[in-house]
Structures are given as C-alpha cells and as structure tokens.
Symmetry: C2
Subunit: 717 residues, 2 copies
C-alpha cells in the first residue's frame, strides 16, 4: 500500500467533544459548524469544503510539507525548513545560501528548485471504498486481499491520472475506507526568497520542539508552468502558474484568544494503535532508531568537520536526523509521562469488555483483534532485518542500484501490473532522485554508512539473514576487516557515483543490467530475488492486516461512539483542517504565554550559532524599530505564537488563518508536549507553534528589503 | 593563600541600590536595616549581627555546604546533596542507601559519617588587616609580600586555634582586608535521615539548575561531641552536641511575595573580575574543563557500567562532575547572552576614564591595573601545565603519594614555617583523606585516569614541561603504548592502594620515604623538587597579585561609590546573609511562577530514573493526601519555591528563613539564568531555588515515617 492509515466515518461526527483535538477532513466541517462558529469562525464552514474555493484552493502540498499561494502569480509561502532542500540545492561552500539567505529581486533571478520539487494542488477527494473492496469476501486476507486491493488502486489511479494530474488512493482506518485524491502536479518550483539561517533556523536544534520560540521559519517559492498552462519541468520559457485563488494577508495578525485555524497535510498519527504497538514503539522502535540515527550523525559529522563540501551536501540530512532524533526522544519522554501503555491497555480492555456486552456481530470483532495481534507478532519477528534493509536502502549505492535494477525488472510487465512506485508514472521521480544524489551524497561518507549498516546486518540472528547477502559477504564477514574490504571493493568497482552513468543504466534493459560488470549492479542483481521474496511475505502480512485492522477500527469507532468521544481520522497525509484559538499553556511552576517578541530574540542572542542574530536585525530589535509591524495591542513585535491546534509532521508550512480565512502566520512546530500527541492528545498541553505574519513582514520590510514581494502580496505600505 | 577573595568596606554601605543583589556580611546588616525592614523583616536587624545569637548561632558550615541546627540535640538539616558523601560512605552495592534512603529511628541507629565530615560553628569574625599587612611597604610585591602575609596569617591562626577550635584568615578584595574567623569544629557527624534518591535527587541532572523543579533535596545529620563537651572524632561514647541555639520551624511556610532570607557560606563569585579574566573564563577555563570533565566521566562511566561496586565508589564524584559540567555550560551560555566581555570592557574603560579625572593618588590606581594585567599574562603562560598537574592531583595515586611525602618534608620544619595545608593542624584531615580513598577509589579506574591526564601532559609545549616528569616518562612516552606501560608499572609497583600501607607511610620520616622502593613514592620523591619550584614561582606571582588586586579593588570601590552602585563583598566562603522575597521571573513567552506542587511530581513521573517517584509517594500525591502540610493559601502541597536571593555554590543547604527567622525551606540550587550570576547578577532573572519546609515535613510524615524527628523538632501533629 502506498499508505496504510486512517479516517473517521460520517456517523461519528455528531458525537464530538469540546476539545480542539481533531484533524478534520474538509468534508466534515459542515457537520461541526456550530463548534467552528462558537470558536469564532466568521466564514460559512461550507465554504471550506470547496477544495477549489477561495480558501482551500490556495492551500497546496509540497509532498511532505504544506504551503499556500499568496499572489496571483503563484508566489508560494512555506516554512524555511520546507524550502531547505531548494536552498541547499542552490548552495555551495562558496555561495552558501543556507547561511546568507537569498532574495530574487525579479522573477528572472529566481533559482530552480531541485528536480523533485513539486507543488500539488488538490482539486478532488472522492470516496471509492466500494470500488476497492466492495466485491471482496470479508474473510479473504493474505496475498489475495493485498493483490486485489493493489490492483483496484492502480486501476483507479490509472483511470484518473493524466499529464500534470496526479491521483492517489488514500487508505483510511487501515482499509476501512479508501479515497481517491486528484491533484494538479506542478514541476517547476523556484526559490524566490529565504532569510539567512540565523533567522530561518534561529534556535536550531536547541530550540526545536521548544517554547519560547523565536524562529523566522518562512521562505517563498514560486510555481511555474509551460506557456500553455501545462505542467512542465524547469525551463527558462516557463511562466508563473495562475492559481484560481490565493490567500489574502492580514498584516495585523491575531491576538491572544482569537480564533485561528490551520489547513494542511498532516502525515501520520497513531491515536488508534493497539497497546502492544505503543509498547513496541517505546521498547524497540524509538530506542533502536535513536541509536542508529546517533551513529549515522556521528559518521556524517566526523566527515563534515573535515570537509565543508561534505557538510553542505549532508546539511539537509543532518537537519532531518537531528529533528527526528529530538522527536523520538520527545515521544519516549511523553509516552512515559502519559503512562501510554497502561492508558492504552486500560482502554483496550474496556473496549473488549464493551464488545462482549454487544450483539453477536459486534462481539465477534473482539476475536478479530486477537487475530490482528497475531499479525503484529509475525511482523515483530522480522523487524530487525527489515530495519537494517531499510537503513541500507538509505545509502546512495544500495538505493540507486536497487531503483535502477528494480525499475528495469518491472518494465518487463504491463504498466498496471508493475509494482507501485515503479510504474511509468513513477519513473520521473526515480530519475530525479538519481540525479539529486549528485548534490547530496559523498561516496566516502556513503561507503562508511553502508559499512556501518552491514555491521548491524551481520549481527542479526540466523533466521533473519538474507541468503544472497550472506553469500556476497562470504564466510569471514563477521571479521570487521573482511567486511570493510568487501565494501571498499564494492565502491571501487562501481561507476554509479557518476551521474551520467546512473542515468544511462536507468535507461537500460534488465538483460543489459544483468550482464553488467559494475560491482554495485552485480550486487543488486544477486540480491533482488531475495528482496522480492521478503516483499512477498510482507504483502501476505499486509493483506491480513488490511482485513483485520478495519475490523478493529470498526469496534473502536462503535465503542467511542458509545462514549460520546470524538472520532476523527488519524492523519494520513491527506488534506485536513484543525481549528482552535491563540493560547498558551500551563504547567506546575510555569506558564507559557502565547506570544514571543523581538525582545526575546535580543535576550537569546549569543552571537554563536544557533543564536547568531544577524547584526542588522539585532540592531533594529534593540532599537525597537518595528515600523508598522508591531502588535496594535501590545506595541511590540510578535515573533511566534502558540495555538491549541492539532497538527503533526506534514503540517509544516501550513497557513494559519484567522476567522475570515486570511493568512496570519505559518505553522512550523509544536511544543515539546505535542511530540507524543501523535499517540495521545492532551488538550491542556498540546500546542502548535506558528511564525507570526507580522514578524515575516517585518523581516521582509526592515531586514531583507523584500519590497518586491510585499508589493506582490499587496501589503507594501 | 588559603583563599584569595573579596569583601566590601564600611564606607560603601550607604550607597546601596534597590536590587536584592548582594551577599551581605552579618556586620553589614544594621547599615541596610531600612531595606531589610522595607522588604518585611520583622526581627531587629542587629540581632542578625550576633553570630552566637538565636538566628546566626544556629547556622553552621559543613565545609563546602551550609546547614543549621533544628533541635536542642544538634539535629542538623541540610541538602540531600550535601549529605550525599555520608550517604555514599554508608552505601554498598548490597545496602544501597543512596537508592533506598535511610532513617535512624533512634540515636543508636545513626550511622557515622565519613572521617572528614565536619560541622563548623562560627563564633567570631574579626578584622585583622592591620595585623597582616599593616607594616608592609605598599610597593613590596612578589615572594616577599607573599611570605610576609603567609607568615602573619599563620601566626594569627596559631594564636587563635586550640583543640576543637578552628581559625582561618579570610582574604577580602584580593588582599584589601583580612578577617580572622573562629569556628568551633565538631568532628563526629552522623547520618540521621535521608530520603531515597528518587526524592532527594528527583529530576537528577536533567532538572539540575532548572525550574520548574521538584526535588526533595534535604537530609538530616547530627553533631556529636565527647561526654565532656569537647570535639572528638567518632566514638560510640560520644553524645549529641548541645547548640546554644537552633532554628524554630514554621510549618506553615511562606507564600508568594513574602519576605525570605538565606544565611550561609557562599563559596566564590567573580563580580569584580577584569574583562580579560572573564574572557579567559569563556575562551579557556570553561571549555577546557568541560572537555576534561567529559573525558573523565566517560572513563568512570565505562567502568561503572561493568561493575556496580565501581559505580557506587564514584557516585559522589560523578554527581559532582555532572553538576559542574552543566554549571560550566550554563556559565558559557549566560556569559554569551549577557555579552559579558563587552559589558565588563565597557565598565572597565569607564573606570579608567573616571580614574583619569580624579586626584593624582586615585589616578595612579589606573597604572596598577595595567600591572595587574601583566601578572595575569604571566599566569596565562603556565595555565595549561598547572591545569594538567591539578588533574593529576585528583588521582588517588598522585594525591596520596604527594600528601604523604610533602607532609614528611614539611614535618622537618618548625610548625609555623610549614606550608599551609601541611601544618600539624592539617594532618588529621590529610589522614582522613588517605583513609577515605578506600571507599571512593578503584585502582583500575584511577590508573586509567592517571594515564589519561598524562596523555594531556605529553601534549604540552616544551616550555611548560616538568623536567623530572619528563625524565620519569623517558624518551618514548609520546608513543601511547610506552606511556601505558609506564603507568601500569607504576600501579603494579605500589602498595599505597592498601590503606594500612598508606597510613604507615604517612607516619614515616622523610628519609624513610626517600629510601622506599614503592613505585608511587619513588615517583613522587623524584617529582617534588620541581613541584616546589613551580609553587615558588606561583607564590611570586601571588605576591604581586596581593599587591595589585587590592589597588584595583580600591579603584573599583571608589568608582562604584561615585555611581551610587551597591558594593558588597564577592563571596569567599565566609558567612553571609541575602534577603528578598518569594517570587518567580518572566521571560519572553514564559512566566516562571514561584511554587511547584505535588501535582508537578505526578506529571513528571516516568518511572525511570531520575523521574522514578517512589510508589508510596506517587500514590499519596495522586490521592492528594497532603495531611496538614498543604499551603493554606492554595490548598496544594508546595514542593520547591523561587526567591530573588543572591546565592552561589556553598550556600547549598542554607536555611531559608521567614520574617521572624523561622525555617521555611532550604536553598539548594538556582535557576539556569543564575549560573552565570557568579559573574554578572541580573535582578530580573537570577533566582534561588528552595525546597519548601512543607514538602520536607510531608515526606517525613506521610512517606518515610520519620515521626521521631518531627517530634524532636517540635512539629509533630
């Protein structure tokens, strides 16, 4: 499955509790209209259900981040950390846009983003559950179920897609329902403006996930299309896209207590997971990944310290690893504090007790939960192996050779029978990645990472070993010197480190690859049959899960409904709206107030990264030279603000909107207590963090002189 | 000098600013009586000047920590971390009092503290500046000045001391004035009660220096003397000391805004240091020690992980290293945020400019500041060597052999000519340390540390090398294998690891030691002549500093007086009083409220160290079973509270007193912003953290069942 995640069903909308917990699908909003209006929304909620209307029509996905159109010429605003790839792609040790920032004073000066950069404009979401599983016997699981669903999904996508239009089937509640999402795909995304990292990443990893926060986490991109309006890859001849709608700016921002909402593409939450899945996350998933990430960062940083070019190439990866590392630690801390396993176990026992008291049909769901546990136990048996293979697939050499050879093998089948991710529609993205490695990978570092992951592999127990990989390693591979020698030979014997060579092989036939003497391709040709066997077993388990998890969710929904608990969809990267108000939070001995100000930047400034405020900004803040960007209420310059919005990764860059749907900031993070909200939401503590529009405008106006953009957005004064 | 530190002069008392900054000597309090009363003191301030009176007479020093008598039978209350040595001394891997806590239900059950544990009761402080430097030519510096002061100090001490009475000369303003402090020395200090580490160290290194805080950082000791009332080392026949005064307990505590004061023995502040000394701290001192401490902790922890007995032996050291490590990082962060070097430079330039505008005599002080800079430059040249030697002296082998041999060499002189620290009066302490190593040192770990420090030594430039040490190392010592071999042989060839052997040698004559074939003693016999030469050069520089720093301080005092800035003494381990009120602090985006409560412990509890609240406490807190210990104002159980008191290391365990001088808590820490207050005090941010007396009483009453102690303090209900 492309995604195995979750949504709510219409029957549950009415049983909504008072909390601002909930990532609502646009279509759900009319059902909770009274709540929205009670909170202060001044728009007709039904306007927000129109995906091509004035508000939602301006909210776009960057694939992993959210953004929005803010001008008729497709000026796009998002987080600095979402534009980081584009900034890094245009940076070198000599011309360091990460450090110095960048401003195109004209469209001609705008820089091409990396080849995989995209803007996706959602224009339709349609329930196709009947189409996908309507004819399937509810008792069929395993490979048969997996393949039937897979086939139906691909057919639905094929029927929907055309050049410039991307379609995807999103799985909700682990297979309880399916929705087809149609998006316009724009491929020429340029970097327009990014403040220096000392503004855009102010506070860095120290402040990440923390409040008080003072980060100017915003940047501007622009979406370009062909002169005929069609989606085209980067070309000088392309012209700015003309979005149907763009967000108006409220340059006066919001104040404490005001209504605020965020529209965006939250990636994944786990609020309906079983207690044992929560325990696995605590006991295995987070600690194991923390260990691996720490080791990976150690390798990259050791090399980066010696060579600034390496540091620039891996800057994006390092930022990502550090972000997740802190996130994982926060998850563990939050889950421990919330006694998550106990809480979930108690809830699960209550669910099972409740089920036993229901009619036979509902009561039967209890047995399915037992079966689901069996599937989880099977997955647990191979998780260490799958994790190591996943890490290997993060190395350039493994990833490139795998994608080259796998694509070639898939190309021998009719398109609709090819594996998802390796269909004709996927080839441009694979090609983009093969190119992109050029700027993001150093062969020496890659080799060290590959070696490191293999060291993890050779420690696996016998029943988790991969035969062909063992054969390639040979007998002495538990001897580290032998292992190192093997990998050195592998890297010495490949020409895939050359981008032209990679692209040549990507165009080659399966038989040509199988005849190649390139060490990396030979390695992968030997490995793939085993990988396919592993994949087949995984699909078998997925098929069972696709049968059982919807049954569990059906039980959970029925039970929650009986408790009048809110049921809303777990995040699954589809478009959602969360609403609430600007507000802080309290803990024992401390109150976190909802706004930070320019004075806080001055107080945090040390002159050392990540608190190295640019000299001109520091001076202006000390002088309180706020222009007309200060809060009318407090007279000071707001920088970041808190709200009780339910967001998660993927919401980064989401527009924060006021009661009239005007842009008042960008969501970019949550507080430390929000990290574990992916599992358990705490109304009193979970807060989103937004960069205030007034700070953005002040930086553009007073510090970086981006008057051209202020004029384009209609806020120049 | 025993201590080279600072105090204010009477002339300056009148120019006091409004801030609660200031560590006041008891004798200064009548001069600031109106301020004290304005803040809310209900006692006559002059009562606080009487060191043997009802309040100050109950406040005692533990040598590094502060404590107070709280019963007529010399029950002493201090911080858990101040009693940590005694708790650790009585702990083994099997009987782990650190983990489990300890309560003596009768005096017979009380456990002996470590042999060096002391309670010092100050009974007189007298200015003896005239006696020390009255006859010295102001122009004489160098060794002559050093030795004259040294001789006068020793004479004053000798005249004052007698069995059970300890006298010390404290140096103020780097030699501007000297005061003789007379203290009763009690030598039999027993452990009475300590809560489990999960209470006494709750939050551990994570929460250390942080607010909100929830640490039950308190323990009880008892001071014993001989039946005749004289100071005696531990003996079963000893009886509890009968203090003239003990503090009454205010079981109702204080509330936000209330007057509060702390009396204690702050160790050291640097508020009058030159800008370049601040820069040295930032550029060299803190970063270098951070590196060393990290490496030392790494070595200890690696060994402790393998052997729990090692972990117990080094628990106290590890706690200390971690505490300082975090402190140093806080110093660096705070100094950077405060732009300390710039601030100090500006102030210094203003001082010099002001001096130039004064009469010739005052203006001449400017030249002395230039000379002082010259002395600092000389010290800087040998600081790396001195640091390495200092670290070597922290290893058992070096420290024990040095003290054994140095004492023997000093014993050949008349007592008054012996080096300070090696006089007859010092011998019991040295002997105590030689015994103490037994429970605090593992020869394997010690050897690794010794090797590690030598690795630092061999990297020193040629002009900082020590000839005899180079000779001992031999030619190949830059080869790590050779160095390791040398150290291994040293440890294999010594019997000092045996306590009886150490004590035998400590009683031996110089000639006997010089004839010994013990490898460690031979090593030290070879080294000492060079160490004495280094010491001589250091005394030379100290003599210059003793001439020049008082001149700089004279200029600083005159200048501050002209600005009507408060001038109070920098901390120098002598008795001080600081006063203010219970209050929190604000930062941009956050308000730190002055009290934490039992609910906060529940919220922080994860079940994992350092948030592993004992089950009975957790249960009682969840049930809000506060007995009569809740705040009358808020109805909840206060745990820790903030106040704007000016404290630093050494104040740990200090009684926090209400307006009537009753005990309402114990100071045990400062907030993160207070760490760098050692250099620059920030009225808005610097806060002390106290454990609330109500939390102490609740733990004793409800959790640990220490009714006997509650009765003894007269607060059983």
């Amino acid at each position: 499955m492309r995604r195995v995640l979750v949504t709510a069903v219409a029957a549950c909308f009415t049983t909504l509790a008072a909390a601002d917990e909930g990532m609502w699908q646009p279509a759900q909003l009319p059902a909770i209209a009274s709540q929205l209006q009670q909170r202060g929304l001044e728009l007709d909620p039904s306007r927000l259900t129109d995906l091509t209307g004035p508000t939602m029509g301006a909210v776009v996905s960057l694939g992993g981040c959210t953004a929005s159109f803010v001008s008729p010429d497709a000026l796009v605003v998002t987080n600095h950390h979402c534009a980081y790839g584009a900034i890094q792609y245009n940076s070198t040790a000599e011309k360091n846009l990460i450090r110095d920032g960048f401003l195109a004073r004209t469209q001609a000066e705008e820089l091409p983003g990396d080849p995989n950069a995209r803007v996706y404009v959602t224009d339709e979401i349609r329930d196709i559950t009947r189409e996908i599983v309507g004819k399937l016997d509810p008792k069929v699981g395993g490979l048969a179920r997996y393949e039937a669903i897979d086939k139906a999904q691909k057919a639905a996508v094929a029927k929907c897609e055309k050049p410039g239009v991307k379609c995807d089937v999103y799985t909700f509640h682990g297979g309880y329902s399916f929705q087809l999402v149609r998006q316009r795909e724009i491929k020429d995304i340029r970097l327009v403006y990014a403040p220096p990292a000392a503004i855009g990443k102010f506070g860095g990893d120290v402040d990440n996930w923390m409040w008080p926060r003072h980060t100017g986490d915003f940047s501007f991109l622009r979406a370009y299309v062909g002169k005929d309006g069609s989606s085209k890859a980067y070309s000088k001849d392309n012209v700015p896209f003309k979005p149907k709608h763009f967000l108006p700016i409220n340059a006066n921002g919001v104040e404490a207590g005001d209504f605020v909402m965020v529209a965006g593409y939250p990636g994944r939450t786990n609020r309906y997971r079983l207690a044992e899945e929560t325990r696995d996350a605590i006991d295995w998933q987070y600690p194991t990944n923390i260990r691996w990430y720490t080791e990976i960062l150690d390798i990259i940083n050791r090399n980066g310290a010696k060579d600034p070019a390496v540091a620039v190439k891996y800057a994006n990866s390092v930022a990502g690893f550090n972000n997740y590392l802190k996130n994982f630690r926060g998850q563990l801390e939050g889950l421990a504090k919330a006694h998550a396993v106990d809480t979930k176990t108690t809830k699960e026992e209550a669910l099972l007790a409740w089920l036993r008291g229901q009619g036979a049909e509902t009561a039967a769901l209890g047995g399915d939960i037992g079966e689901l546990r069996g599937v989880l136990a099977q997955q647990r048996k191979v998780r260490d192996r799958d994790l190591v293979l996943g890490y290997l697939n993060r190395t350039f050499l493994y990833n490139a050779s795998y994608h080259i050879y796998r694509t070639a093998t898939e190309r021998t089948k009719p398109d609709l029978q090819r594996e998802q991710g390796f269909q004709t529609r996927d080839e441009p993205k694979i090609e983009g990645t093969l190119k992109q490695w050029e700027r993001r990978m150093d062969p020496g570092v890659d080799r060290q990472l590959f070696t490191h992951f293999l060291r993890g592999y050779v420690k696996l127990p016998a029943d988790q070993r991969v035969k062909s990989l063992d054969a390639w390693l040979g007998t002495g591979a538990t001897d580290d010197a032998v292992l190192v020698q093997k990998v050195d030979a592998l890297y010495a014997g490949t020409r895939l480190t050359n981008v032209d060579e990679r692209l040549k092989w990507f165009k080659s036939k399966r038989s040509e690859i199988e005849a190649s003497d390139d060490a990396a391709l030979k390695f992968m040709v030997a490995l793939l049959p085993d990988l396919l066997e592993i994949e087949r077993a995984r699909k078998q388990r997925s098929g069972d899960e696709l049968r059982l998890r919807p049954r569990y969710m059906q039980a959970m929904i029925a039970y929650n409904e009986s408790l009048k608990q809110p049921v809303y969809p777990d995040a699954n990267s589809s478009l959602r709206v969360t609403f609430g108000q600007v507000q802080g939070f309290k803990k024992d001995g401390v109150e976190f107030t909802p706004f930070t100000t320019g004075d806080g930047i001055v107080a945090k400034t040390t002159g050392e990264d990540p608190f190295d405020t640019p000299a001109n900004e520091y001076k202006a803040l000390v002088a309180r030279d706020y222009g007309n960007h200060a809060s009318a209420k407090t007279g000071v310059l707001p920088v970041n603000f808190l709200a009780d919005l339910d967001i998660t990764g993927g919401n980064s860059g989401s527009p924060a909107l006021d009661a009239q749907g005007r842009l008042v900031g960008l969501a970019f993070d949550g507080n430390w207590d929000s990290v574990s909200a992916d599992w358990i939401f705490d109304t009193g503590l979970t807060r989103s963090i937004q960069v205030d529009v007034r700070y953005m405008l002040w930086i553009m106006d007073k510090i970086d002189g981006a008057k051209n953009l202020l004029e384009e957005m209609g806020v120049a004064k």
